[in-house]
Every structure is written in C-alpha cells, then in structure tokens.
Symmetry: C2
Subunit: 337 residues, 2 copies
C-alpha cells in the first residue's frame, strides 16, 4: 500500500477531491462540525492521513478573523530586567493556560522605541487575539496604546495610578504589611524599608503596606529609601541605612534581589543576620533560597499570576466579561528573620 508521495503542501481542496467530497464537507469534518455523515467524515480523515494534510493556520486566521495567538508584552527600558526569573515564571504560567485554549504565545520585549512601535502595530492591526501587558511604569506609552488597541488587553499588575478594566495583580500591600508585621512580632522596633522603584505600582504598594504595618503598631515608619530592584541597589541602600541609622534592627526590602544586597552589606559590616538585623524580602524566587542566610520573604504566586492573566484573556477573547483578580501572598519564614 503506497502512501501518497509527501507532496509539498496539500490544501483542503486536494483533501476534498481525494475523499470525494466538497470542500465544505471536508472543512466541516476537519473542525468536528455537525452535518457530516459518518462515511464522509471517515473518508476525509483517510485522505488527511494519506496526504499528510495540515491546515494552514494563516488562511484559517484570515477567514475566521482570529489569529490563534496572544501576546505577552513586557515593558521596560532595559531589556535585561527581563532576565529576572520573575518573568520566566509568569511565562510558564501563561504558556500553560494558553496551551489549554490552543493559543500560541507571542513575546514582545518593548524596550526600544522600535519595539514599542511594533507592539503598537500589533495591537492596532489585530496581529494577535489579545494582549497581556506587564511592568508598565508611570506614563508608560503602552498605556495609551492599550486604550486604542483593537483587541482585549489584560494587565499584569496595575499600572501606576489607574486601575484598568481587566487586570490580575498580587496583593502587594497585604504582603508588605505581613512582612513588616512579622519583623515587629519578632520584637524589632527600628524597622527600615528599602523600597522598589516608586514609579511602579508594586514599588508604591509595598511601601504602603510597610507604612500601614508600622503605623498600626504605633511605630514611626522610615522614609522611603528607593532602590531599583537590583542586588546592587539593595546593597547601596543598606549601606546608607547603616550609616544614617546605625541602630536599625530590621529591614523590609521590596524584593529579594535587594534583600540579598542588603544581606551582603550587613555581613560585610560585620553584623549578623538575623541576630543584629533581621531582613525580609519579597518575591520568593530562586535568590531567596540561595541567599545566606536563606531569606524570609513574601511568597507571591508568580506562575498563578501568568496563568490567571492568560485565562482572563481567553475569557475575553471568548466574549465573556471576567472580573479583575488580586492574588494572595504568604510569608515564607526562613532564617533571615
């Protein structure tokens, strides 16, 4: 039984011809649509197999006006912030959820002007069925583009200031509050804070949480000491802190990288963690476990964030109207506090 020669690219018409049916019937059979007799359905399946037919997604997209792809856009001047494992985990979650809906994942790193222009084009041209937007800053041009997008947009984390129609976020305020309360419950009274960038909503919200906890315990919050989420900036901030407030006995850092930097500075200054200074971070990515001592930190459900963004987007693409989501955090207590 000679299989048909693997011709370059059979079309649906050829399948139909071979199966002895019309293109319409072949199409219906392929899509498991009703109104196809058992016999013809099987004939089509046979022809598909013999010809090694694979539908052309582009043609299908043109006809259905659905691309079968969703885009994840990560904003940020410096593309290397993307190297943060945070995004990798988001992607893992989003990818899994999109797989379930048979959507492909397009990844756009909107770093340069060129990159942003391409994202804008994508959003205006229906080059995808929907977009997930992350890491927007204050006055990020992507915010405007999102308004004019010709497709559903889901935000990952709220942009500074405004809450968009659809978003998935992590409870930054609650997490920061819990972290700070943990330090206080350990008997620390001079608990300082190393903030993330205050032009991001996450940076602001985490400072708010810290502040709430301090005020709630009748303590004086320290003024925001701003880092940029890197290990280096955390180390620098900690050095400034030790210089200005030598009696500090607790530090809440707005992410693990900065906490790791703080750890290093404390160590180099000859003080012990947690005996002299207790440190709590935020994220609970790999860095927290590698750190010495292992970092007590606010665990945020990063893969879930990606997954829920994707699910929300799928819902929107299917014409539903999901509600925004704020995912809970929880404190992972380790040695540093």
């Amino acid at each position: 039984m000679a299989e048909a020669a693997p011709r370059r690219h059979p079309t649906l018409d050829e399948v139909a011809e071979r199966a002895g049916v019309s293109r319409s019937v072949a199409s219906r059979a392929l899509n498991n649509a009703p109104h196809v007799s058992r016999a013809k359905r099987e004939a089509v399946e046979r022809a598909v197999r013999q010809l090694g037919y694979v539908p052309n997604p582009t043609a299908r997209a043109l006809a259905t006006r659905q691309t079968g792809a969703a885009a994840l856009v990560v904003s940020g001047e410096d593309p290397s912030i993307f190297a943060d494992p945070f995004f990798a985990r988001v992607i893992v979650g989003a990818s899994a959820a999109l797989d379930e809906a048979d959507l492909h994942l397009m990844l756009c790193l909107a770093a340069s002007d060129r990159g942003r222009k391409r994202v804008e084009e994508l959003m205006r041209s229906r080059g995808a069925d929907g977009v997930m937007l992350m890491a927007l800053r204050e006055d990020d041009p992507l915010t405007r583009m999102a308004d004019e997008a010709q497709m559903p947009v889901v935000f990952g984390g709220r942009p500074v200031g405004s809450a968009p129609r659809w978003y998935v976020d992590v409870d930054n305020v609650g997490g920061a509050r819990e972290a700070t309360e943990h330090l206080i419950s350990l008997g620390r009274r001079r608990v300082a804070v190393i903030c993330g960038r205050l032009d991001t909503e996450a940076g602001r919200a985490r400072y708010r949480g810290y502040r709430d906890a301090m005020l709630g315990a009748g303590l004086d919050p320290y003024p925001p000491l701003e880092g940029d989420f890197t290990e280096r900036s955390g180390a620098a901030a900690m050095a400034a802190l030790l210089a200005g407030h030598p009696d500090v006995d607790g530090v809440f850092a707005a992410n693990d990288n900065m906490a790791a930097g703080a750890l290093r500075t404390v160590r180099e200054a000859g003080r012990r963690v947690p005996a002299d200074v207790a440190v709590v971070g935020f994220d609970d990515l790999m860095a927290a476990q590698i750190a010495d001592p292992p970092l007590t930190t606010v665990h945020q459900p990063v893969e879930a964030l990606g997954r829920e963004m994707a699910r929300m987007l799928v819902a929107l693409v299917n014409g539903q109207d999901p509600t925004p989501l704020v995912l809970p955090t929880r404190l992972a207590v380790r040695a540093s506090a």
Copy 2:
C-alpha cells in the same frame, strides 16, 4: 478639518479609494515598492493617516506565504527548568535580533505531549517562518519533528550525538577545560567534577572538557558524578563527594546552580572556600554573583547565543546558507577559586 471617524477597520481598498488610486498602487506605496509617482505616494500616505489604516498582517501573510514570526521552542519535561535565567537571556538576545528583521517571537514550551503536538503542528503547517530549538535531550521527539519541518530550523546547542545542519553552540568543552586548568594552576591536584545531566550534550561536553584538562595535566579524572543542574543536586553531589573523597581540594561544577549547592554543602561541612576546597562553576548568570563567596565561573555569552540563533534563522528565511557557529567562553575569576 474633520478627521475621518475612526471606523472599525479600514482595508487597503478603502485607502486606495480615498487616495484616488487603485489597490495595486496603494499596496506598492505602502511597501515602498517602485513604480509609484510621488504624487500618488503622498496621496496614499495621507489617506493612511486619515483613516488610521494598519495593514492586516494575516492577509499579508496569506498572500506572501510568510508569517512574519519565528518560534523559539524550549524542550523539557519540567516547565520550571525554563525558570532558569539562562533562557530569559537567550530570549533577550533573540528578541533583539528578530526585532531588527521585523519578525515576531513565538515562544513554545514543549513540556507536555500536548505542547509537543502543538509544536509539531506549528512546524508542519508553516505557522511560523522558522524555528529555534533548544534544550533537546537524547532521543528527543523534537529531533524527528525538526527533520520533517516545513521550515528552517536552527538548533541552540547541539543535540546529543548528531550535529544538525544549522546550529549555534557555546564552546562547552573549551570552557570546562579552562575552568579545570584554572583549578590545577592554583595547585589543586584532587579536582573532582559535578556533571550536569549526561543525556544533554552540554552535560557531556563539559565533562569531556574537564577530563581533557585532567589528563592533559597528568592527573586522574574523577568519574562523572551526575547532577541535574539544580542547586539541590549540586549540594547532594558535593555531600557524596566529601564522604567518598574527603581529601578533594577542587571542584568543577557544570553549572552555577550546582556550584552554589556545592558551596553550601562545603560551608555546612565546616570547610572553607576556596582555602580548603576551590570551586568553579559554569554559566555566569546571576547566581554566580549572589553566591557566597562569589563564584569563579565560566562565562558564556548567553544573549549572544540567542542573538546569533535568531540571525542565523533570519539568514535562512532569506534564502541564505549560513554556517554553524560556536561561541567562545571565558573564565570569570572571582573569590571561590
């Protein structure tokens, strides 16, 4: 001057009509093709602006038989291996290079059978213009799919055993050799190795490099002690090593995560790094700098790997025939050795 009402989605025909030209001319003007008079070109540009026209990429794709997208496929049972910052850096590099060629990046995490099936469909259906394949294991089903792909395929790292027609790799053997030689040059004579998974080419090649260096120096190589590239497996391997060979004075670990694990075990066993045991890693990602002490490690140009893969793919898509590439590594000497 009333801007045209922002209709839902103007087509090229409407642009042509408004500009008073035929669709052909409008198309040519849009694509900067020749044979368009200056006047008509400007008329088209004006119409585009007034209508807010954006070309439909799907229609264009159907007509040109080019999707305008390239896929990066990452193989691996456990999707969380993708959380390794390694891939993030590859993506940064690839994304930048694809941007230059105006290609979009599709990301496929081929973890489940379902995911692999989707990748196969993508490759057989011309759902992308080309594919970059990474992290293949021995007998990885993706290898076969790649053979049958209807589009160019570039490998990132060679698959076990065979060298494909087009690939970009890092000089794993040379890097591992250099790392080991560094340890030997420090006077270490009992230099052990913690390998990566030996069902990956990188794992094997790095062991080969270690072995070469040892033999070259007239030393007995240790048998391969296999880890799986995780911090935990590195710690466990180091524990086994200390138990079986208490006199070991140098360790080459096939990646930084495992080296970090080894560091932890050595520290917990009350020995000093590098005084008692010197450790060298491989990768030079973030972990190497956070480690305590900072890790001497083989720096591999990860972003360049992604960039070169993408460039090679672009060349292939453009009908050229590029040659495989092996990128050099260099030793980053820090405190651990």
